[in-house]
Symmetry: D2
Subunit: 386 residues, 4 copies
């Protein structure tokens, strides 16, 4: 039985990994390395729910430093790379599997490269720009042996990078399966699980952008104030989730804290999937700058107001409205998303470029049939004139 | 005055950096971070000569682990990334400058990316493959803000990767200046500086290849034995330099050690530049698998026998003969390089694709005129349809 | 001029270091390494105020991991030791100076030991027990070359450990100078600087105890509830400061958070010294388990209710009442501290065993006159039959 | 079944651990963490033989840095502490077991202290001084929960330190069992296993001393030259073992290398136990500064010439002659050890203070009967007036 070591560091990315791991477990020996925000109380100790899913934990790697300075990420990454090497040498998997553009992805790519262990990367080829994560994603693609891309256009980008075509597979976004498989909750049950009453509401997911870290507080303040005005005028509520742990997150939390007396807002550190998916299903719009707006909202046919430069460059299925940090523009975009029937109709009819929710099966099949004794998988060549 | 922090970890790569740093010192505040093999007695403590060049040392970073296992490199890299972040935050340079495909290059790229400091990489776009270093080089290109490439063909490869053209400059190989500026030694003085007498001789530079680490000893043994036979038949000597510190180097040293009684061979841990350049100038051929055969030997018009797969994929100026690990093939290639007058004449007339030795000036001018307040330099976008 | 490198990681310990550093600056080249909670937003970014004091910062070392698991401390300490070595080799001070029993103290002791640099430890010989910090303090004493002890009894303990007498100096607690030098604020100004109005109040400082981490939440809950009852019955207020960053602190914060609607309580992340000292001067009692109750409260002649096992074993000047986690006992102790006139009179007349506030001068004189070329300072011998 | 995690980093200390581990395996779940020089080719890759002993390896931790600078040890120790914490959290043993005064001992003590896991230290209380390792040994004693001491005098020292008597057990040196259990080889077989012929010979074991690192080369040179003269005059041979990895070892190797043409000397990186023990049994004397001269040579009734300050302060069973670095003194001491029949007779009759070779059984019994749920074992108190 082939052995797979998956590496995960943050809730948002584990949502993508989870359906894949569940499917892989049928035919592979699967172990998990749990890192970063999963191990942080301040981020809801999500490692506990991962361990309850029944996966075997190979190691728990702490590297998330308690500072808002930019040093946080590269110092932490160094620790992660060294620690993960210890784990990988002991476990000696056939594949290391990871997602996206964060510390876990680049650390896994690097360790697999130096230890000559095949690495499989979900989510390469996405040309989003503006955040420190974005060039990391491409660096991961240069180092990874196998690419599972979430859109055909992104697969093509990897070929343009000179990647050998046999390494590139368009599978779609695995997280869609996740949504498909989540049972429907009644509004009553949703309210109970949140502990609040809900009528018309928006969901807010806002992360810091490394290149604009100094403005994180002001940007969040504008976003919050615009939402406060819109909610008051239109009797809407906002359900928000706390930001990730990147530098600038502290400033976002500060801005959130200033609205703690405002009844329109209700924030959660993290939410169980059942609650979250149903929250999205019943929302009127998503606002903020989470990748979920680009990658998952099309599946929900949900209008998205993406505030600021994060997610710029990504494939827009047609449901995302990019606006800058300006009260008037944000409020107008909220109006369009919530009240403009033509716009909403278009979104209900969009064609989702992020696949059909079968990524888990495709990944399992591909890794299952790959000949791990074929040395050509281990040595990467560039082909620039494809 | 703009501030530049250069990062160096190994003699071979400092040879490329040195002429650039000397030129930069005229107009920039230049500091050095000294790492890795430079700090190792087993590799000749080359940091001492660097410090004697008069550069200010920002920090000394130890990360080279004493093991021959593959874990050596990624565990060490983790330490380097964390340690270098500490240095960079304190120094706050305008640019971080580095060369090639080793730990220092990827560590610097990563730190610059997360700390929003401009990074300048010398040597990107080279499609060599087969070694763990090779994908690292491309990962560095994805992360670096500025690329100084050593051949026009390599610059084109970077454009193909989607790099914005304004970031890519063909400067040629800076190390050529180094050779140009080295005074000529008479054979007598060369012999004195080496402490041996020389007539007809070859130079041997052989490093381990990560994807073939397990064969490192056997491969070196075949190389040594072929050279031993050739030397005996043709009254030749071999002057060798010890390998770098990568996993497998221990095995190469073991094979070398078995020939310590053989008078045809003379090995050095490291050599001063004056001695080394004149050794190359008077050699009849270079054998092994050093990048020097590809990148610098054309400047010397020197025939190269590249044994094995290392350096595969690189731009061959016409002076490199690739042979596999086979006594007969190696000895034939040695004969051609040393005795085939037509072949030697062609090499004497080759056109060097690695520039004219003015890279240092071009780099200095480019960094000098770059507007560090222009935010477009800090945010990398992909352009895939150039 | 002799060079001193001081290492600091937390506000409470910097309070002890600060008066010493100010005095040392007159005759020594003083640099600071700033670490740990000083660099954490969650702990008030106290490094900013340190840098504003005008000290030169040698390096900023991040090691505080964002988790509530016990792994936090030893993983972080590993990072600190490696990082600090880089700093110390570059700075090459004549002395490394540090305080107490936390990561900075043991890291500095270890680095000085291996690098053969003299280390001076403030606060050794204190037999407090029950916390993970406590054995660390004695380990620091075994490694340190010079001991500045805060009580004569503690100096005697160090001699009992076999330390050579010439290394042991009773100086008293340097932080007392700090208090002496702080100007008096009127109650009006104190209230302004806190942003609240105050009449009769207690100060609360409560940290987790590693050996009872699992009970941290319950213990704090009992403490808070007892205070809530006492305050309501007697019209008292509580001014609290957040706990340090040790594992369990998250649980303490959780208990605090549950009383955020209770008007009797007001919590601060951290307070400027001027405010804090005057807060203590005007308080009716200190409650919790901070070392301040033992070490500084005698100077204020302030009654202390020490709840739980932290600080057990320490020299009690007579002002500290140890109680366990029990509502009745805590409330009774509060009554005694606040209303029992005989008890209060005794405390007003106590003799402070922690010195007269001249520790800074004694330390400066000792280090100034020590012959750093005398090799006997560098080689520690044990003398067990003193 | 109680679980024990043993931590080992160097051959000399594993010799002490091995008989204990073999005995523990009968009644405990035993796992090993293998670190440091065990993983270094330059030190004979001794981890391979450990793994062949059939112990389960919990993790392999690389931390040994390739430099001769003093930074090597504390930087490496930092890495070890962080890495070992990862292992300990995963394994969650009931006891961590370790020996002596090196990085593994202090790292294990620290990790156990912060993670509240019982730690058992073999070899505390030994007042040797002059090396960076020596204060580390006492720091380990302050942190460790259980002490197995190799001499009654050393146990007494621990009580003097204020350790609670129930934590201190005099067991003797476990390595003696090792020697007892090693079969006798004929001289013929010994010669075969060494690959040399032997008649009268001395054994040389010489390590660097941190406080005299700068003199390491000169000191070894004097030792080698004295031995060369003695051997030539008296037809003796010297069988030497390479030094450990501490800073200065490179210089010792350099001095050894200068005698590589001298037929009197034969050096080995490391030797199998069977060979080594029989080498000691048949030697006429041991020279150098290894702890073996103090701790094990009494068992062999072997005269020892201890050159220089290393081992100063230790309990001398009467077989050790301390001499300084002086040709005349060394040669005289060699004469006494080899030719002075009265002196030799005294040594044959000495009483060994290091126990009777039953330490393994005593340790197993103590750990087996200890109640791991008794919280008093976890909280250390100082008792200064015993």
């Amino acid at each position: 039985m082939k052995k797979i070591l998956a590496v995960t560091g943050i809730r948002s990315e584990f949502d993508i990994l989870l359906p894949v791991l569940k499917t892989l477990k049928r035919n592979f020996d699967v172990k998990l390395v749990v890192c970063g925000t999963h191990l942080s109380n301040w981020h809801g100790n999500t490692y506990e729910s991962i361990e309850q899913e029944g996966f075997e934990i190979a190691d728990r790697i702490d590297y998330l430093l308690m500072t808002n300075r930019k040093t946080q990420r590269s110092k932490g990454l160094g620790t992660l790379i060294s620690s993960l090497t210890q784990t990988v040498e002991r476990e000696m998997p056939n594949f290391i599997l990871y997602v996206g553009d964060r510390e876990e992805a680049i650390a896994s790519s690097i360790v697999g490269n130096y230890l000559d262990i095949l690495t499989a990367h979900i989510g390469g080829g996405d040309p989003v720009y503006g955040n420190a994560d974005d060039p990391i994603r491409f660096a991961c693609s240069e180092l990874s042996h196998i690419h599972f891309s979430t859109a055909q256009e992104y697969a093509n980008n990897l070929i343009n990078l000179g990647e050998e075509p046999k390494r590139v597979v368009f599978t779609g976004n695995p997280a869609l399966k996740n949504i498909k498989d989540t049972p429907e909750l009644s509004m009553k049950d949703l309210e109970n699980s949140l502990g609040i009453s809900l009528k018309k509401y928006l969901v807010l997911l806002k992360h810091p952008l490394s290149s604009e870290k100094e403005s994180a507080y002001d940007q969040m303040k504008i976003t919050m104030e615009s939402l406060a005005r819109f909610c008051e005028e239109n009797s809407y509520n906002v359900v928000g989730i706390y930001p990730n742990s990147d530098p600038g997150s502290y400033d976002i939390l500060k801005a959130i804290d200033e609205y703690k007396e405002n009844r329109s807002f209700k924030f959660f550190k993290t939410l169980p999937r059942l609650t979250f998916v149903n929250l999205m299903r019943n929302a009127d719009a998503l606002i903020g700058n989470s990748s979920m707006g680009i990658l998952e909202a099309p599946f929900y046919k949900l209008p998205v107001i993406n505030v600021g430069a994060r997610q710029k460059g990504r494939l827009n299925a047609g449901n995302v409205d990019f606006v800058d940090y300006d009260h008037k523009n944000i409020i107008e975009a909220l109006h369009k998303a919530v009240f403009d029937e033509t716009y909403k109709e278009n979104i209900r009819n969009l064609k989702n470029p992020y696949g059909d929710g079968s990524a888990d099966l495709q990944i399992s099949e591909f890794l299952g049939s790959l000949d791990i004794n074929d040395s050509s998988w281990y040595i990467k060549k560039k082909i620039f004139d494809q």
